[in-house]
Amino acid sequence: MIKTEGLVKRFDEDTLISYNNIVFEDGKSYVLLGASGCGKSTLLNMLAGVITPSEGAIYFDGVEMSRKSQKQKDRFRIEKIGYIFQDFKLIEEMTVEDNINVLRLEGVKTSAMDDVLGKLGILSKKKKKVKQLSGGERQRVAIARAFVKAPDIILADEPTGNLNYEIGKKVVEEMLKIAKGKTLVAVTHDDRLAPLFDCTIDMNGIASSYSESEVEKNA
């Protein structure tokens, strides 16, 4: 179970995002909906340990992770979290296989690669360079990289952001199929995909963006 408490993220500019407490239960899929800039991706990044919250805490099965060292957070991310990035974060010049094998640098076993690629329908592209793939195929590679290590938690930031609705829906369906039994938190701006997930969280009611001047005025 993932639980957030009093999360606040301050940015360099005079803005901050404050979040209501959220609980993500094990084995369920969640979709975070909300307008652009409402803090969806920031929340995912904080959950993944990529950025540190300015205030508040994040608990994974009761263990507070957000205040751990970057090294511990990196370790946790590589072992427990599969993160699917909006812009794929793939090495364009490398093959699909190598992009997944990059995980081996941290000792992650990638023996499930063929199985995952097969489930996503891109096993035949294994030896292809990422730059030779279509947008949909790249997104599937990003998903495969997240799933190949059999993580407990999957975070997906706009997994269909670069795809049209039809392809996007298919990708999400495939993703949910593989993620069955795992905790999945996805961010999307396309509310047509929301019914595919177990729970929908409207971030407009959870996160509040302020400028510092507004905070001072309210105080």
């Binding site: 990044n45 990196d74 090495i91 640098l105």
Partner: protein, 421 residues
């Protein structure tokens, strides 16, 4: 890790090749410059002769020393063989070796002397020359022209390759010297009488006619047919005066019983205006002091090149690293720790450093081999297999400066806020 590093490098082939090339160019120049300077110096020092005195015709002492010790330059002239006989009967002298030069085999000089001239130079094959027209060649000559025992060497008149061929009097190869990495490797040795005989035949064949014509001036007419026309005839005539004709030698090499006797002999010859006596060690020391200045300039250049290396290699490496920021950020995002990222790029740059250093070394050796012929004409044989400790230091520096900036860069980049990368 290494496999992934290599794969990652292969995705940037062109960039990697350019980086390696930039390192190779600067590093090989530094290695080469140092090695050549050292080998030239060593070549001079090591040839500081086992002879304590050289007797020759009046003229340049440097020319006499370079000609007799390194077989370079033209002989300064000739002196009568009577001097040899006189010195041979002198109790103060242990060894008297006549030295004559004037002809060549392709580009290699032919030295007319006595077998004792090659004392301490073991034969790899065959035996020492004994009879007239027998010859022993240096290892480079044998290798260069694919010579083996029993081969006939058709020599050319004069020191130019284009000289008239002595086809009627070829030399018979009876021995090949072991490699010495000295000027001896590039020369042909025969008995002094061979030199005389060849020239006697040469004169008989009509070369002296040309001389006569010159003397009476008739051959000044450009249309007048020459007895033997060949390229560089004027040069040849000039050289002709330096040939050791029968009863003459170009120099006499002496080993005296004591240095005091050597000095005595030197003083005795001082009164003879036709003779020059030199102490090779002194002349070579003078040459070395001049070369030493050049060596210091080369060292200075080496240091400048190395400093430039540091800048070039560091800049190239740093630019490469900053170019890899995206990859580093990507790896960090998916959870690869800073340590692993640092090791990955360290391995990559170490591989680049190793490849570059190895190629630089190879290039320097290749150029050394190619330069060998050119430098051989100056009497110094460059040994491509000779490595000086300082060269290892240059290579180590090149390796370190191709790796060190990586470490600093990756540490800097990978410690930045992940999301900001």
């Amino acid at each position: 890790m290494l496999k992934f590093a290599l794969k990652n490098m292969l995705t940037k082939k062109v960039k990697m090749i350019l980086i390696i090339l930039s390192i190779v160019i600067s590093a090989s120049v530094a290695i080469l410059a140092y090695n050549v300077a050292e080998q030239v110096n060593d070549g001079l020092v090591n040839t500081t002769s086992t002879y304590d005195t050289i007797v020759g015709p009046a003229g340049s002492s440097t020319q006499l020393a370079m000609n007799t010790l390194f077989f370079t330059d033209k002989p300064p002239g000739t002196i009568s063989y009577e001097y040899v006989e006189k010195l041979e009967s002198d109790d103060r002298v242990n060894v008297v070796i006549p030295f004559a030069m004037g002809d060549s085999y392709n580009s290699s000089k032919i030295v007319g002397t006595k077998p004792a001239f090659l004392d301490g130079k073991p034969l790899k094959d065959g035996e020492m020359f004994g009879d007239v027209y027998e010859a022993v060649v240096g290892s480079s000559v044998a290798r260069k022209y694919g010579l083996s025992i029993g081969d006939e060497l058709v020599t050319s008149h004069g020191l130019s390759e284009n000289g008239e061929k002595h086809t009627a009097n070829p030399l018979k190869l009876v021995g090949i010297l072991e490699e010495t990495n000295t000027a001896y490797d590039n020369a042909v040795f025969t008995d002094i009488e061979t030199v005389w005989e060849v020239h006697e035949h040469h004169e008989d064949e009509g070369h002296d006619e040309g001389h006569d014509e010159h003397e009476d001036g008739s051959s000044e007419d450009a249309d007048a047919p020459s007895s033997h026309t060949f390229e560089g005839e004027d040069e040849e005539h000039e050289e002709h005066e330096e040939h050791a004709e029968e009863g003459t030698v170009c120099a006499i090499l002496l080993k005296c019983r004591t240095l005091a006797y050597a000095e005595e002999i030197k003083k005795e010859f001082a009164s003879d205006s036709n003779i020059l006596t030199i102490t090779p060690a002194e002349v070579i020391r003078e040459i070395i002091s001049n070369v030493d200045l050049s060596r210091k300039i080369v060292y200075l250049l080496c240091i400048i090149i190395l400093i430039m290396n540091v800048f070039v290699i560091s800049t190239v490496t740093i630019l490469n690293m900053y170019d890899s920021q995206k990859d580093i950020a990507l790896m960090r995002l998916i959870g690869i720790g800073t340590g692993k990222v640092n090791i990955l790029f360290l391995i990559q740059n170490a591989v680049i450093g190793l490849i570059s250093t190895a190629i630089s070394f190879g290039v320097s050796r290749l150029v050394l081999s190619l330069m060998s012929d050119f430098v051989a004409s100056m009497g110094i044989v460059l040994d491509a297999s000779k490595i000086y400790p300082f060269e290892w230091l240059i290579m180590a520096v090149v390796f370190v400066i191709s790796v060190l900036p990586t470490l600093i860069c990756t540490l800097h980049i990978s410690r930045k806020d992940i999301i900001r990368n």
